[in-house]
């Protein structure tokens, strides 16, 4: 029976590849938007404007204090109540962007505030504008602190894409659900799902380890 199910599974393997491709799309679009948004938020979170700091702080706490699956439901089910209709795919991307940017914001803000105040003062004293101080003096130093946890966060984000299966996006985990109905070998089906996730996240884990070692010296 096992062998039969295995050959059935291999027959529908292209279906898994389609799911993997959807996962990769959600993951990489999200990594990009989360990084851009996260840096933007993180820079203001470590900045001078009290109101912005407070506001971003509230946003981050809210995102960190609620389960991602609940956030996905809120976006998918509550927004239509306010007349905003979103397909599952853009809703998934929006949910990922909101969640991921909050975590990356904290990493970036932490990195920036690890740079001594004197570096800002020296750069300011020489006439550099705020943006130049940040771009030329602060961020290049802060990147050493930011990069290892950032890549670690990327791995988490890739794995978190599995949550958007709950709103029907046909990504890898959803493909597993659908398959297991027809091939009732849960272990076999979800092992394959697991292996495919591992294939995309493992290179990033290696990169994270490498950066950790390199930045430590």
């Amino acid at each position: 029976m096992m062998a039969f199910y295995f050959s059935r599974l291999m027959e529908i393997f292209p279906f898994f590849l389609k799911g993997l491709w959807m996962t990769v799309q959600i993951a990489f679009i999200s990594l990009f938007t989360c990084t851009v948004l996260g840096f933007f938020l993180g820079i203001f979170r470590s900045g001078q404007n009290r109101f912005l700091k407070w506001f971003i702080g509230v946003y981050v706490s809210f995102v960190r204090g609620t389960p991602f699956v609940v956030q996905v439901f809120i976006i998918f089910f509550i927004l239509p109540e306010w007349g905003i209709q979103l397909e599952a795919f853009p809703a998934a991307l929006l949910a990922m962007a909101i969640m991921g940017s909050a975590f990356i914001c904290e990493i970036v803000a932490g990195g920036i505030s690890s740079i001594p105040k004197g570096q800002w003062e020296a750069a300011a004293s020489s006439g550099l504008t705020m943006t130049q101080q940040l771009r030329l003096v602060i961020l290049p130093q802060a990147m050493k602190v930011i990069l290892p946890p950032l890549v670690g966060q990327y791995v988490l984000l890739i794995k978190d894409t599995s949550v958007v299966s709950v709103i029907g996006v046909m990504e890898l985990t959803r493909v597993g659900w659908v398959t297991v109905v027809r091939i009732p070998e849960g272990l076999m089906v979800f092992s394959l799902v697991g292996i495919l996730y591992f294939v995309i996240s493992y290179p990033l884990i290696l990169l994270s380890n490498y950066l950790e070692r390199r930045m430590a010296v």
């Binding site: 020296a122 300011a124 006439g127």
Partner: protein, 245 residues
């Protein structure tokens, strides 16, 4: 003589602490002013107000005809003319000595890299460190780092140089090399404000010494007069303290 820096009834508070209390001070072009006083007396705060690293709450500060207290003042323009040297050097650790010095000329003055590097080498020669242009700050001694910091300030061709306890973080054997560089600057006619307890330096090159305590200017005088014959009791006890320490 023309005033380069002018404080008029300047007040500053940190919360309830009155760190600058009615400061009135005029520094003329080419003058070398030494500011001393016990820690917490407001001397560092005073010079940090000149390039507006610190904001004041009351009064006026005019630097080279620019009203520094004015909220709309162009800070970049103001700071181009003022070099600042910190107690802890604050060199950029991710850049070489040459990159440290050329950063502001290239990005603020929009100078070509080639020209900025030529000026940087000139300034490095002035502080005696041409051989270190490719080194990173972490590879230099404290004294060398502080000389690079001075070269970095000079590379913007400022009209004023401010020094905030430039030798206090240095091992004793390195203090001399930094003071020598500063003495040479004096002979070039640079306007300088130096927060320091180096009495030898003050006596040798300062035009005036300002003594501060509890946010106020308590006494002002020629260095010899001030150190040998202080008029106030507070200055006297302070001087005896730095002499015996």
């Amino acid at each position: 003589m023309e005033n380069m820096i002018e404080f008029k009834n300047v007040h500053k508070w940190y919360g309830k602490l009155h760190v600058l209390n009615d400061i009135n001070l005029e520094i003329s072009r080419g003058e070398v002013l030494v500011i001393c006083g016990p820690s917490g007396s407001g001397k560092s705060t005073l010079i940090r107000c000149i390039n507006r690293l610190e904001e004041i709450q009351k009064g006026e500060i005019v630097v080279n005809n620019t009203p520094v207290h004015d909220k709309t003042v162009n800070l970049t323009r103001l700071r181009e003319d003022i070099g600042f040297v910190f107690q802890q050097f604050h060199l950029y650790p991710h850049m070489t000595v040459l990159q440290n010095i050329t950063l502001a000329p290239v990005n603020v003055k929009k100078m070509s890299r080639k020209k900025a590097e030529a000026i940087a080498m000139e300034k490095l020669e002035q502080v005696g460190l041409t051989d270190k242009s490719g080194a990173y700050p972490g590879q230099l001694s404290g004294g060398q780092q502080q000389r690079v910091a001075i070269a970095r300030g000079l590379a913007m061709s400022p009209e004023i140089m401010l020094f905030d306890e430039p030798t206090s973080a240095l091992d004793p054997e390195m203090i001399g090399e930094v003071l020598d560089v500063m003495v040479n600057l004096v002979s070039e006619g640079m306007t300088m404000c130096v927060v320091t307890h180096e009495m030898g330096f003050a006596k040798k090159v300062a035009d005036r010494v300002v003594f501060m305590d509890e946010g106020k200017i308590v006494e002002t005088g020629k260095p010899d007069e001030f150190f040998d014959n202080p008029k106030t009791e507070r200055a006297e006890s302070f001087i005896s303290m730095i002499l015996t320490h």
